[in-house]
């Protein structure tokens, strides 16, 4: 009997399994720990933290859509101080591996956040969520602007030094995703997270206005999985050496396998946890079975397998 190597790496960070939570879909981790042991998954990706506490967007903050949902949370959170004082130590105590997601409204805020976490131990990597409005440029989302994306990542890289792997999370709402990806890799991203939610809207037929308090929201769930697979495939084809943390509509092992074959080295589970609090355990278990059944001896052998040459 051969043993199967399920481990994965994102830059210099090693994880025993490729299944992660998705930022903003596991709160600080405590709530899911009621259903399974956090150290049994690859890592907890924390919800994006900003430098100050934030109330977020007005309610309603969600709308269910066919095989998906829209959310407009608006990065509600306690801010970096409280995060470092309360949430992070708790996760470390659980022996969970932690990827800290950071978000900012200015290039400077990202760098400030990087400075706050660079010397904290127990962090495996930092995920830079650049799908935020840039207050210095008419609220244009950083991730939609190749130049602003580079500047954010450059700032984080320079502040954080060479130690902590930087995973940059990109938005699919762009004309040329490989171009943005190449730009941030150029200035020091070690890995890419693909994809953030797709911009959408639902009109409430009673009020006859946009349903969400924030008007538009981010579409997630199985509905967007084909978009995620395409994005991962495109970026892996353009940058085959850059590891990808894939996500978007994964709710079973077969879904995770699709993303891995397309080029993802790890898979985050977001919305699926809302409908099924044990989704991470289930996906992890099913994925392993599917890989073994296909004769793979390691996860890494399957990464990007859909790109192999015709024989």
């Amino acid at each position: 009997m051969t043993t199967f190597d399920f481990s994965t790496t994102l830059g210099s960070a090693w994880f025993p399994t490729p299944i992660f939570t998705a930022s903003g879909c596991a709160s600080s981790g405590k709530e899911l720990s009621q259903f399974f042991d956090l150290k049994d998954i690859g890592a907890v990706v924390t919800k994006s933290v900003m430098s100050k506490p934030r109330h977020g967007r007005p309610t309603p903050r969600m709308a269910e859509t066919p095989s998906g949902m829209l959310n407009s949370i608006g990065l509600q959170g306690p801010g970096i101080d409280s995060f470092l004082a309360n949430d992070l130590p708790w996760l470390i105590e659980q022996k969970s591996r932690v990827i800290v997601s950071i978000a900012g409204e200015t290039v400077e805020e990202y760098a400030t956040l990087a400075r706050r976490i660079r010397s904290v131990s127990g962090i495996s990597a930092v995920e830079v969520n650049i799908s935020c409005p840039n207050v210095e440029n008419r609220g244009l989302v950083f991730a939609c602007d190749p130049d602003a994306s580079r500047r954010v990542v450059d700032g984080v890289r320079k502040t954080i030094g060479g130690e902590l792997p930087i995973i940059v999370k990109l938005s699919p709402d762009v004309t040329n995703l490989p171009e943005i990806a190449a730009g941030v890799v150029d200035v020091g991203a070690d890995a890419l997270a693909l994809i953030n939610t797709v911009l959408g809207m639902v009109i409430n037929l009673d009020t006859m206005r946009p349903h969400l308090g924030g008007k538009t929201g981010g579409l997630s769930g199985p509905a967007i999985r084909p978009v995620a697979v395409r994005a991962i495939y495109q970026v892996h084809a353009a940058l085959p050496k850059v590891p990808i943390l894939g996500m978007g509509g994964v709710s079973s092992g077969r879904d995770a396998l699709e993303l891995i074959l397309a080029g993802a080295s790890g898979v985050s589970i977001g919305t699926a946890s809302f409908g099924n609090p044990t989704a991470l355990m289930q996906v992890q278990h099913e994925l392993k079975e599917l890989l073994v059944a296909r004769g793979f001896t390691s996860l890494s052998a399957a990464v990007g397998f859909a790109h192999r040459e015709e024989m």
């Binding site: 709160s27 709530e31 967007r57 969600m62 269910e64 095989s67 919305t271 946890s273 809302f274």
Partner: protein
Amino acid sequence: MVKLLMSTINRSASQFIASVVSNKRVGQYHQLILQVGDIVTFCKPGNFIAIKVGGESSRMILRRAFAISRTSQSSSFGGTIELIVAPFGSGSSWLCSQPEGSELDVVTPLGTAFGIPTEPVKALLVGGGYGSAPLFGLAEVLKLRGCKVDMLLGASTGGKIYAPMEGKRSANSLRIYTEDGSMGEKGRVTDPIWALVQDNAVDVIYSCGPMPMLAAISKLVEGTDIVHQCAVEESMACGVGVCMTCVLPVANDQGQVSMLRSCIDGPVMDGSLVQWDLVGQVHEVHQ
């Protein structure tokens, strides 16, 4: 009395398969009895259950939340809980169409429970529509503690009043209000509250129903000593505290407002702390 700010998921919550013991139409609602085994001992009045809807290849990806109406231990089915479901949209309609014997993927008990007074008090229970569901289980508990239990139920029309025979026995009095006058008195369930407050007939109000009803009651008791425990109903994506969609602006003792999750810091909340005027408001201010 009611411990707010639990800020962590109900410790008793678990995910399991529950089978439908019975499904009966009651007025415009369906009464569903689910077999839940020993979990029943953890289900308290005010807690809710989150149910996966639509079957195997459903396009509905989110669970639906329902208040636990009553619990019981029966000889033939073990622990069971009762739900009162209004067939509204596609999820609840699917649920109402599930025959006896169907299996449901559920997570329960979730959320906070109504706080039970340690002394016998004068309790007023106010329910709007299917919001009356959890009040009957609560009434039984209060009755056992020696409380005086008065109940007010309201709805737009008689078919939407849920008031089972057995349940009525747990209350000292029951008055029904309908907007169209088709059952009980014509009017709103909040109409008689002011007089009761004036008469010192109430120590604690327990309420469950539409948000505007809860807000109205909070307003009525403002400035009085009356404790108002309300079960709120915000739209929930996860029900277990991980998504932050179900938040309400709630003040703490120092008056500082935060956006609390109604799935884990609620659904039962202290009505005097909920900032009703700020619900759904844009307040992009930092704390």
